[in-house]
């Protein structure tokens, strides 16, 4: 009987430990995901907020000036290559804006297509497939005319695919750094869905 009780106790302790590990992993995975999602929402909001604030003029336009200067080192911000709102250009050009908004869309869809707690990395060939059209469009070789539509399609494809590489890698990295001994490791997969 004592054997049974002791076995039960140790079994329970083992279960508690596993539960604690799983809880820790789930907590860190979701926090990481939500942190990245929140950061992306803030980033995309800033792109749209800049023209809205700039259109108001006066003191309200000062934060807009800050946002435009924040995006300046990472985007040419040419007016003829940017979306406009209230006659003011977005903080980033068409291609960059589409990449960021598509990244947000991909990040929002990520929990639908993947389990947050089980980071799965798609095949690296897919990364090339997402990036190549944008590179061809950004450095044209005269095959076709580069327009806003081509910038949006190619940038959108790249931006949408990126979270499926960034999110699992970031979730696993945070688990490795902060969680209790990780029992989860990234798995490679050919497609984008778990199925």
């Amino acid at each position: 009987m004592l054997d049974g009780v002791l076995h039960g106790f140790f079994d329970l302790r083992g279960t508690t430990f596993v539960c604690s590990c799983l809880y820790s992993i789930m907590r860190y995975s979701r926090t990481t995901y939500l942190g990245i999602l929140l950061g992306t929402v803030t980033w995309c909001s800033a792109i749209v907020l800049a023209p809205v604030l700039a259109a108001q003029g006066g003191m309200v336009a000062l934060p807009a000036e800050f946002i435009y200067r924040l995006f300046h080192p990472i985007c040419h911000q040419l007016q003829e290559r940017s979306f406009t709102l209230l006659d003011q250009p977005f903080a980033a050009c068409v291609r960059c804006s589409t990449i960021y908004f598509a990244f947000l869309a991909g990040a929002l869809l990520y929990p639908v297509l993947r389990k947050i707690e089980r980071p799965v990395m798609p095949s690296r060939v897919l990364l090339l497939a997402f990036a190549l059209p944008m590179l061809i469009d950004a450095f044209p070789i005269g095959l076709y005319e580069v327009t806003h539509l081509t910038r949006m399609i190619t940038g959108g494809l790249f931006g949408f695919g990126l979270p499926f590489f960034i999110l699992p890698a970031a979730i696993e990295a945070v688990q490795q750094m902060f969680a209790t001994p990780s029992t989860v490791s990234i798995q490679h997969q050919k497609g984008l869905t778990d199925a």
Partner: protein, 174 residues
Amino acid sequence: MPNKPSILMPALYGGIIMAVISAVPGLNLLNCLCCAGIMLGGFMAVFFYKKDLTAQTPLESSDGLKLGALAGVFGAIIGSILSAALMAVTGNLGGQLVKSMLESSGALSQMPPEAVEQMEQGLQETSLSAFSVVISLIIDPLFGLLGGLIGYAVFKSKPGAVIPQPPVQPPTQA
């Protein structure tokens, strides 16, 4: 678990790549493609680190994250120094380059006068402001980190890869 090599030198190499791309006029236009130059620095830091790893010390995602962020910090500092030096020597060469590109494509004549005026004002700036250094210290580690994670996605060992074991030396008999 064997000790892993230091991330300092690979991150420094990545940071130098990032700084050169960000500071050299013309080359810095690469950053207009969603920070491609900055992300390349983080990516290359993982590449250099991967070369130092052995089969017993596989590349982990936390390595990619740390390498990318650290390369971003190095890139921001070295890039700011390099930009300031280049600006002091050559003036705002990057701005002049963009202006001449716009002129040759005919886009400058289509731009609104206030935008042209703003550009002219920007061209007169020949020193680096503290604000742009602060911006670099925010942007470079952020996008370097993304580059590091992409580097991890690319350079991570394939699952099921056979890890070669070190040869076992037979015990020598005295």
